[in-house]
Every structure is written in structure tokens, then in C-alpha cells.
Amino acid sequence: MEIFWYLSIAIVLAVFFILDGYDFGTGIIHLFLAKEEKDKEVIAKSAGLFWDSNEVWLVAAGGMLFMAFPTFYASVFSGFYLPLIIVLWLIIFRAIGLEFRSQFKFQMWKDIWDASFGVSSLLLALFFGIALGNVVRGVNLGGVENGISEYEAHYFFLPLWDSSFSPLSKTPGVIDWFTIIIGLISVVTLAIHGANWIILKTNSSINAKLKRVIFNLNIVLAALTIFSLLIWQTVNPNCFDNFSEKPYLILFPIVYVTGLIGLFFIKKMKKDVHGFILSTLLIVGGITSSLASLFPVLLPSINTINEPLTIYNTATSEYGLSVALNWGIIGFVLLFVYMIIQKRLMGGKIDNMDYGH
């Protein structure tokens, strides 16, 4: 039952990063590459029409995590207090940027909200990557100092950074050189994903240029990926154990690598959707590989005194998990039905759509 909810939450999270991921990526591309007002408008719209129904996946993931693994939810949300609240603020700036840009016609107003949308999207992509880096690296559970736990074994508090900026420090912060690298991988991946979304959903004048951009970003991504793999084991020595014990888990990294290799052929692709599918594979593969390397651990402990948080020591009762299964299945079916209805009615290029006004 724990495994079922773990998988469900992983799926919901992956869907969130696929869907809202393209919004973040669209924001990054918008920030750096959209120059003409016509492009800016349609690119903002390609995120603006969908961000709120995409963001509900985050709310759903949060709710399910709260219900199924309350101890994990409590520990992680209070431990990552500052970065989480900053993420909340960025989410607000992203949303109001998208919603308010077209409310007044003068350029300065639009520029302000474009910047709000773009910068907060960039920072959100970075922060989500950094968050993943933190989960992979682990934290000082129990706040151990000189061999003594300062808090209960499953609580911790992370400063934004530790003066050494090293993941190998005994009290690492949220930001260190390892998590920054994972953050950059996230930014590049989502920028590629966003660019694919823009190509798929719009006729913007920069579409041809975006294919070159994707190609170049993909080179950067490949380099970052290889580099991160080299240091990954230094940061988390057990990270490859799961893959050698259960070889079928290799599937997840293969998904990632397929996306990565496939995107090198972006310039030759005839159908716009192919690029988007490949960057989706990148996201799915990246998240699932990271989670698979940890399973069943949810948050490693970097000290030897306190046990890591796992799906077993943080879950609620068996009854709670199984009763939630009943409504969970109905809920999932409904979610996919809504998604299909929405995609069917709002498919196609944004520029060609008739809003009915």
C-alpha cells in the first residue's frame, strides 16, 4: 500500500513537472528570446491559458503526500522552510505576471509583468532542481551536532547555504555546488521543454530559431548530465546500489537517455509534437531515475545517528492508505478525463484559436 501511494505521488509529481514544466520553460525562453510584442504575447498566452490547471497537479501532489506520508510532509516542509516559502512567492509572481500582462495596453505595464513571469519561471526551475538535489544528497536529520541530536530524529532545519557551499559538509545548506548543478540541469531541461511547447502551440516567428536553441541547450545538458553523474556518487555513495540489485530499474535512465539523444535530431524533425515528447521523456526519466536510486528512502540522512526517512517510517496507517485508494482511483480517472476534454477543446496552435469573444 505504501508503494502504491509512493508511485501515485511520483506519477502526479511527474505530470506536474511535464505540464507546469513547460510553463516554466516557456517563461525562460520568453525572458531571453522573445523580442517582438507579437511573439511575446502569443508565448505568454501559451503558458497563460494553462498554468492554473497545471498547477493543481502540485496541489494534488502536496495533498496526497500530506495524507499518505504525514511525517515526511511535516519534516520536509518545515526543514526546507525558507526555500519553500520563497517558491510560494515565486509562484505568485509567475501567476500574476501571466494574468495581468494583457490587462492594460501600454508597453511598460506589459514589460513589468513579462519580467515577473520570466524571472520567476527561471528561478522556479532552478529552485525545483535544487530541491531535487537536496533530496538526493540528504540532510542532517535530527540536527546532529557533535554526535547529539538537537531535534526529534525525523526533523531538521536547513539554512539557505552553509559557508563552505559543499554537499560534503556536515551541515550542508539548501544551496551548495552539487545542488546548483542539479538546479542548472533542471533549468536547461525545462528551457528545452518550454521551447518545444512554444514550437508545438504557436506560430511565433522564433520557432525556427528555437530548434537551434534546443540543439545547443541539449549539448549543455549532455555535458551537465555526465558531469553530475561523475560527482553523484561522491555525494550519495549508495546511489547506484538499487540499479545493480534490481536491473530492471535501468529502464528509467534509458528513458532519460532516449530523450537526450533524440533531441539531437530536433532540426530534422517534421512533426512539432516529437520534440515535445522527447523533452517529456527527459523530465520523466530524470525524476524517476533519481527517485529509483533512493527507493524506498524518501530523504537520506547524512549522519550515522538517525535513520533516513523512508516510505515505511513516514506513512500513515494501513486503513487510511487503503480507504484513500477508493476515492483515489475515482479521482485519477476524473483527472485524466478532464485533461483529455481540455486538450481536445484547446488543442492546436494558440494563434489559430478562436476564443469566442
Binding site: 500530506f66 531538521f156 486503513y319 478532464y338 469573444h357
Partner: protein, 443 residues
């Protein structure tokens, strides 16, 4: 420790207060939108359709605000109330996760379709999307209220040896005797807010001599919905809730009614008075004898325990705030009934549209249903103190053990600044939409 608790409570109170400005409008307004759109399907008069689309624009701005201020609420359970989340997440996580899954998705998916899809879908499907938005927003209220009902009157749980609360009976969460009255009261109160908003915009158009046709429609609809909902908020749902408080939280009941000393037989109802916490009495009191006993138990001489019957640790920690919140809510509710009844009378006599003093009153009354809704919630939440889960888990036991008060103060100040900006933008946008009016076509 004291500081931490104070800042955590202040931050939650501030962010939830600001958040609840928006859903209280969208829940009620979605009902009125369904009414306008349904009426259009029946009578094919274009202005009803325009009204539905106009208010959906206002709905959309409020919805965006509700979403971006709502996510911090979900997060705060973990960030600031980690111990509470850890102990009770197995129970309240159920209803909160269901809210995300069943209502939030419904609302956000179909809102976009309602706004952009009228031509695409045809009128009947357009009505259906509007109805689904309404269903989603009311379902959201249902799940939030069921979460709150569990905190007010915990049911269906089991406490493990390690202090954790786990679910023992899922359906008990929804058959909780606290839930239905609280839900109906809350939803009807949100209809009051939106009726006043609709009526107020109508009055504004008439007074400005602009978009008169819509002004009359809005005013008429707002007044009818406003009177019906104001009456239902007071009776039976308000009455029903008060009886629940008297039954399940007698200490809170004594505090909110301002009963310092138990009377031998029959408690008086306090209309006005100021709690004097030093001398433990009400100053400048105006009260009617025996009415409270009658309203609560339909017995004139029934004794109602006052605050002297309870230990200090069982009484709410801020009695004046609770007392004032409750009395402001009740007082405003009474005024709403009066004004709306008057307006309906003049509507019937066909004088309302030219009766300027009443139009001005209706226009400027619009902040007060918001205040009444919020003070109603303050009554519920202050009344639950000093507990998070009534009678079981104290508020001081629920905060995050690792988050220092300095961090919470920092984020609180950040929220205050950011929400001021949000509030300003919100007013500009809603003002702009109202100023353009339903006739205005864009895009």
C-alpha cells in the same frame, strides 16, 4: 517558544484572512452565474448571457487570487505546523487531498473552458461548464469544512501509542454532526457576499447612469438572492451552528456570548457590551433576560454554564476578540436582512431604481458581508482555542519544532508586503472590469 507560537498563529491568521476574501466571492458568485446562464437558456434574452460572462470575468480574477493565496495555506500546514501535520496528517490529509483532486481540478479545468469556449461548445455545453465550475467550488467548500469540522469536533479517529492520530472510520468524517450546519452556513454566507457584490455593481451603474439595463438586472437579482441568503444564514443555519457550539464547545459558547457568571435560571442574551477581563464582567451591557436559554434550548429557564464554570486552560485564550467577532457577525447579519428587506419592498413598489439613498447604501455596504464572513470564521477559530483539535491537541503543541520565530517573522513580513501588492492589483483589475461593464467586448 511563546514567540514562535505567536508568529505562526499570526502568519496563518493573516494569510487565511486574505485568502478567504476570494473564495467567499467565487463560491457564491458561481451560483449566480449558473442562475444567469440558466435563465438565458430558457428565455434567450441576451443580457442574461452577458451578465453570466461579465461575472465570470470577475470570478476569474478572484479565482486566480484564490489559487495563488490558497497554495500557501496548504504549504503552511507543513512549514509552520509540522507537528500538527505529522500527528494528524493521516486524517486531515484525506480531506485536503480530496479537495485538490475533486474540486480544484474541476474548477480550474472548466473555468478556462467557460471563458474561452462559448463558440466552440454551444450554449448547452457552455451552461454545463459553468455548472461544473459551481460544483467544483462548492465541493471545495465541503472538503475544507469537513477538515475544519474534524478540528472542531474530532470523530472517527484513533490515537496510537506514539501520539499519532490515525483514521478509524472514513465515513465519520463526512457524517460529523458539526459538518453539515457549518457547511450550509458558510456557503449561504458566501452567497450573501456575492449577492451584495452583484447588487452593489447594479446600484453603481444606476447611480452613474451608465449600462442602466444591466444595472437594474444586477440590482434586482442581487436583492432577491441577498435577502433569501441573509435570512437562511441566520435561520436555520446560524441557529443550528450556535446550538452545536453550546453542545460540543460549552466553554467557547460562554465566551462568545459574553457570559462571565452563570445565572441560576435562564441566561440573558447580550446585545451590546464590552468584556472587562480584569473584573470579569461586561461593561455598558444591554441584554434581554432569558432569551439565550430559549434560543439555544427552547426552555426559558434552562441554565447555561458561564465562564466561571470552566478552568482557565479550557477557555479560549482571547475572549474579547472572540466575543467581538461573534457580535459583529451577528449584528451585521441583522443589518443585511433589514436593508435587503427594505430594498425588496421598494423593488415591489417599483421605486427602488430611483431611490438614491438606498442605492448609495447598497453600493457602500459591499465590504461588510466580507467582514461578516471573516468575523464568522474568527468566531469558529478563536472559539476552538486553546486547541487545534478540540479537547485533544493544544495549539502550542502543533507548531514546527525547527522553525525559529525569526524565520517566521521574516516570511510573515514578506507575505504582508506581497499581499498588499496583490490586493492593489486585484482592486485595479476588478475596478477596470466593472468600469468597462458587461457591454464591453474585448479580444
Amino acid at each position: 517558544m511563546e514567540d514562535m507560537l505567536f508568529y505562526d498563529r499570526l502568519q496563518f491568521a493573516f494569510t487565511i484572512t486574505f485568502h478567504y476574501i476570494f473564495p467567499q466571492l467565487t463560491m457564491g458568485l458561481s451560483l449566480l452565474i449558473v442562475y444567469f446562464k440558466g435563465k438565458y437558456l430558457l428565455n434567450k434574452i441576451e443580457k442574461y448571457n452577458d451578465a453570466a460572462k461579465f461575472f465570470m470575468k470577475i470570478f476569474a480574477v478572484n479565482f486566480t487570487m484564490g489559487v495563488v493565496t490558497g497554495i500557501p495555506m496548504e504549504f503552511q500546514f507543513g512549514t509552520n505546523w509540522a507537528k500538527y501535520s505529522e500527528l494528524t496528517g493521516g486524517i486531515i490529509g484525506q480531506t485536503l487531498a480530496m479537495e485538490g483532486m475533486f474540486s480544484f481540478f474541476l474548477e480550474s479545468s472548466f473555468l478556462a473552458l467557460f471563458i474561452f469556449g462559448e463558440k466552440l461548445m454551444g450554449q448547452k455545453l457552455h451552461f454545463l461548464t459553468g455548472f461544473l465550475v459551481f460544483l467544483g467550488s462548492w465541493a471545495s467548500g465541503w472538503f475544507i469544512l469537513s477538515t475544519n469540522a474534524w478540528m472542531q469536533h474530532p470523530v472517527g479517529y484513533e490515537i496510537l501509542d506514539n501520539g499519532k492520530y490515525v483514521l478509524e472510520n472514513f465515513s465519520a468524517l463526512f457524517s460529523n454532526p458539526w459538518l453539515l450546519p457549518a457547511f450550509l452556513h458558510n456557503q449561504l454566507a458566501s452567497v450573501v457576499t456575492s449577492s451584495f457584490v452583484v447588487a452593489s455593481i447594479g446600484a453603481f451603474y444606476i447611480l452613474r447612469n451608465k449600462q442602466i439595463e444591466y444595472g437594474k438586472l444586477f440590482l434586482k437579482t442581487g436583492v432577491v438572492f441577498g435577502l433569501v441568503s441573509s435570512l437562511l444564514v441566520a435561520f436555520p443555519t446560524g441557529d443550528w451552528n450556535a446550538k452545536n457550539v453550546a453542545k460540543y464547545q460549552p466553554a467557547s459558547f460562554a465566551a462568545m456570548e459574553g457570559i462571565f457568571e452563570t445565572e441560576e435560571a435562564g441566561a440573558e442574551i447580550v446585545l451590546i457590551g464590552q468584556p472587562n477581563m480584569v473584573e470579569k464582567k461586561l461593561d455598558n451591557k444591554i441584554a434581554v433576560p432569558n432569551i439565550l436559554s430559549f434560543l439555544t434550548y427552547q426552555e426559558w429557564d434552562r441554565q447555561i454554564p458561564g465562564m466561571d464554570k470552566f478552568k482557565k486552560e479550557e477557555l479560549p485564550d482571547n475572549i474579547p476578540a472572540l466575543y467581538y467577532s461573534y457580535h459583529i457577525m451577528v449584528g451585521l447579519g441583522t443589518i443585511f436582512i433589514g436593508v435587503m428587506a427594505l430594498a425588496l419592498f421598494f423593488l415591489w413598489r417599483k421605486k427602488l431604481y430611483t431611490l438614491k439613498p438606498l442605492l448609495w447604501t447598497i453600493m457602500f455596504l459591499v465590504p461588510f458581508p466580507y467582514i461578516a464572513n471573516l468575523t464568522g470564521w474568527y468566531t469558529a477559530e478563536l472559539g476552538r482555542q486553546p486547541y487545534l483539535v478540540y479537547g485533544l491537541l493544544r495549539t502550542s503543541e502543533g507548531i514546527s519544532p525547527t522553525v525559529s520565530s525569526g524565520n517566521t517573522l521574516f516570511t510573515l513580513l514578506g507575505f504582508v508586503a506581497l499581499y498588499m501588492l496583490l490586493g492593489l492589483l486585484f482592486l485595479v483589475l476588478v475596478g477596470k472590469t466593472i468600469n468597462e461593464g458587461p457591454k464591453h467586448k474585448t479580444h
